[in-house]
Symmetry: C2
Subunit: 329 residues, 2 copies
């Protein structure tokens, strides 16, 4: 099948670019020094390519992602880098033979881990982004509590999400270093072999972590695309022009249910607005009804979560279809 | 099952409020004077309730929605109120016995309809929103072209999407009337028995249409909730507090993959930001890890498109689970 024959709107992965991103990252962060975050793509086929590049473990944001990876035979080194209040489904996975570490940042989440059958936890530390993560001063106390409940404390994590999208590299680096040293201080108090953190925007800046949790590098998006990172845009939303108005605007069939964040039209054009199934824009060059356009989504992760699958292409030829099989909760 | 035992994040429909919204609208616009838009909920179970309230037809935004309604036995009066470039899947539906009218606004979409096996079209007219729809002056010519290709022209549609969200009622009414009269002028030139348009924000203002395409009224959202419409918020996103920081913020487990548009926390609280799986906020009243919170999503339609199903509750009791079975394309 030629890529221009698939129904639109559709996610299309350029397999060669995707593999080159994976190889590039595996060269920079080989083996266990990268723990790819599957929330970016929610796709076991892609996780398998990352495993094939030598990374033994995965980072998850949801229990569903961990369950899906286990079902796909990729559940031997998982880390759910997020807090949960009911850990029983994780306990079930551990019973079945999965290895799943869980982030905790409070008495309540530690107790949920212990009572739910989790065996290994990582203390999540606030390193400057106002989201999950305990205060640095509480890390040691929480680690002690976890150990007293029979949990193995494998280390610390801290995500510098406030820093990874800063475009100015020296500023980004400053913020990443501040976070990294906060995480190191917490690790000194907590112990364990793992210091986990970082993302695509800090993969080569955060040198204190033992493993980087990057995910977006594998396909990239508009936000990361402005940051001079050595990864190529390997995913596009293919869309079809369905209406051209004589007053100068046109409409393509990829709206807010197909693209999350600001759409960037590769062929050029100023976006007017997006509605559910429409992208209204003023084209840079004349377009006709039926033309195919290619859009870089502003944000990769929630864009993929809107789709059931991705077409995989080499050049103009469809070579595979990947299911987005890790979405939901 | 008690509603507080379902895993979060989750869509929860209050069945009584939902049925009351449906009854309220059916009283205002009985039978064929409402053609409920299923893009709002993408759920055949809900479409069945709307059919039960006396509305014989449905509006769709995608071919997938029409296919799903047909498979559910609800395909005897469908209108795809959107342009398509490849109509063959619609032709297949018609072959199987579905009645499907299709919007067209150009030579290309009319030719696609004819060659794809569509039998009935509606001329889509620009009534002031810069999206699909032909110029008023072109409506007659396009109707002639369609008839010359053997298509039945059933009438006109025009969606006043630029007007339906105006909060000031007199201003909204003015804009709706301007659009309505543009649509009437086009109808005079085109002919046919259908004049289709309107939405939840103009359901009682647009008196020229023979059928209103409202959809959001059935569940409502934050945007429409500010407009003093006589419909209740019948859908909430249930979420669980997973982290409480001593500096004053807290985090719930419903991020951009669960809620589209600005989240409004029913229990009170200022939203700081949403990330993939997190809603960071400053609670109005103290919260604890494990507390359940209830969120009104800013925009209903794309919020539902992020979920696979909805829990249906009466009071605190789960009575049903509805699949979001019309999503995708």
């Amino acid at each position: 099948v030629n890529i221009d024959e698939i129904p639109t709107p559709a996610l299309v992965v350029d397999l060669d670019l995707c593999k080159s991103n994976i190889a590039q990252m595996a060269a920079a962060l080989p083996g266990p020094s990268l723990r790819p975050h599957v929330k970016a793509h929610k796709c076991t086929a892609l996780a398998r390519l990352q495993r094939g590049a030598g990374h033994p473990g995965f980072t998850c944001a949801t229990i569903k992602e961990a369950e899906g990876l286990f079902d796909a035979g990729l559940g031997d080194d998982l880390f759910i880098a997020n807090e949960v209040v009911d850990a029983r489904r994780i306990g079930d996975l551990v019973q079945k033979g999965a290895k799943v570490m869980l982030a905790v940042d409070s008495e309540a989440t530690i107790e949920a881990a212990a009572s739910g059958g989790v065996e290994e936890v990582i203390i999540d530390v606030d390193v400057g982004m106002p989201r999950c993560g305990c205060d640095e001063d509480d890390a040691a106390r929480l680690a002690d509590l976890a150990r007293s409940l029979g949990l193995r404390v494998e280390g610390v994590m801290g995500y510098e999400g406030h820093a990874v999208h800063i475009r100015d590299l020296p500023k980004r680096n400053d913020e990443v270093q501040k976070s990294a040293y906060a995480l190191l201080r917490a690790h000194d108090l907590v112990g364990g072999k793992i210091v986990s953190g970082g993302g695509t925007g800090s993969y080569n800046l955060n040198s204190v972590v033992t493993e980087v949790q990057a995910g977006s590098y594998v396909l990239m998006d508009g936000d990361y695309g402005t940051m001079a990172l050595p990864f190529d845009q390997a995913l596009l939303v293919h869309t079809t022009v369905i209406s051209v108005h004589k007053k100068g605007w046109a409409v393509a069939d990829a709206g807010t249910k197909a693209i999350y964040g600001t759409p960037h039209i590769v062929e050029g054009g100023d976006v007017m607005f997006s509605s559910d199934e429409h992208l209204a824009f003023v084209p840079e060059h004349p377009v006709r009804v039926g033309d195919r356009l290619h859009v870089i989504p502003g944000q990769l992760d929630p864009t993929i979560a809107l789709h059931k699958g991705m077409w995989v292409a080499r050049g103009t030829k469809v070579v595979e279809r990947w299911q987005v099989d890790l979405s939901g909760w």
